[in-house]
């Protein structure tokens, strides 16, 4: 069935159109708690120019953001703040864990540093490095854009998949060195 479309009409799926809009206007929430935050600022500045990817609008109100960038170590006093800010961000939203500290705790294996924010938050992209170079952050944002385009839906059905609802596998199965028995008890 051939339909004659004028040149200025494009046919697409609504999901893809929504994802296309979203991926090109990510507004980051800079949760910069330590030295990785300096690289985050460098990424936003003119030399690396995050604006090329539509993600230059750093907003300091979580209500206006849809991309949480956790840049730096998070201590146990800060984690409730991080979780509250995450909950205040409107859907759809994504999270990038930037640097060794945010992803695993890094070298700070002490009583007060959370050993990876992904234990308590859903994280979409991890960036290795201490600190990661701006190129790595930009690569993560490009990869996240691909991910949004690939699986995004207009009503956020991809966030409701059961696989994503499960608590982190690592948290349940893998033994953690130096883990106290209190934690095991709290989990079960």
């Amino acid at each position: 069935m051939a339909v004659d479309l004028p040149d200025n009409v494009v046919v697409t799926k609504l999901d893809e159109l929504a994802s296309w809009c979203r991926k090109n206007s990510l507004w980051p929430m800079p949760f910069a708690t330590a030295c990785c935050g300096i690289e985050l600022m460098a990424t936003g500045a003119s030399k690396y120019d995050l604006a090329r990817f539509g993600a230059e609008v750093f907003r300091f109100s979580p209500r206006q953001c849809d991309l949480m960038i956790v840049a730096g170590r998070v201590v146990m006093k800060m984690l409730p703040v991080l979780q509250r800010i995450w909950q205040q961000m409107p859907e759809p939203k994504w999270c990038i864990s930037m640097g060794a500290c945010a992803s695993t705790g890094g070298v700070f294996d002490t009583y007060c540093v959370v050993q990876g924010v992904d234990r308590f938050l859903p994280v979409d992209m991890y960036i290795p490095g201490c600190p990661p170079r701006p190129e790595q952050l930009i690569q993560a944002i490009i990869d996240l854009q691909d991910k949004i385009q690939r699986e995004g839906t207009i009503f956020g059905a991809e966030f409701k998949q059961t696989q994503r609802q499960q608590a982190k596998r690592a948290l349940i199965e893998l033994p953690v060195i130096g883990q106290a028995s209190e934690f095991r008890a709290a989990q079960s």
Binding site: Q87, R119, F120, K160, Q166, A167, G178, Q179, F183
Partner: protein, 166 residues
């Protein structure tokens, strides 16, 4: 820097229980717990030690040659005469209370709160003895040597947010 000998002589004559020693050119004074406030008061008002540089603490658990558990350290300075002095007060469980030095130096307020937060030493008469760095619900004193380096699971004691809980 060695403290002026006149100060040390006057103090040791006034207070019987003091021990004076020197280490790498610094004068150290060990005062018994009961005399701590009187000694520091005398140092401030009679000998011009107008600045409390720091209050901190050392846990001597399992340390070689240590006889006491905690060593509370007061670092004093005389900004007029350019004089410095270290005063130590040794503490043992269960008597971990010393008089607060806030009546002498206002600056002792947060310093003592930090020692309380990290070592669990209480300061009698402190106007506002709360934890200063750790959250109020924290139950341990993390700079004590018998506290594990990785904690007792406090860093994992949070609810896990899922995707749909936002």
């Amino acid at each position: 820097m060695l403290t002026r000998p006149a100060v040390i002589t006057a103090l040791t004559q006034q207070f019987a229980g003091l021990t004076v020693s020197e280490f790498r050119g610094d004068t150290r004074l060990v005062a018994p717990r009961e005399q701590a406030f009187a000694v520091l008061e005398q140092l401030k008002f009679a000998h011009g030690f107008d600045l409390l540089v720091d209050v901190t603490c050392v846990d001597y658990l399992n340390a070689r040659e240590a006889t006491d558990r905690f060593g509370l350290v007061y670092l004093l300075a005389n900004t007029v005469e350019n004089d410095r002095l270290t005063v130590r007060v040794f503490l043992n469980e269960p008597e971990l209370t010393v008089p607060s030095m806030v009546p002498l130096w206002e600056g002792a307020n947060w310093l003592e709160r930090e020692v309380y937060d990290m070592f669990g030493i209480t300061f009698a008469g402190h106007p506002d003895l709360r934890r200063i760095l750790l959250p109020d619900e924290f139950a341990a004193y993390p700079l004590r040597k018998d506290y594990p380096l990785r904690g007792r699971g406090e860093r994992h004691n949070f609810p896990v947010l899922r995707r749909d809980q936002a």
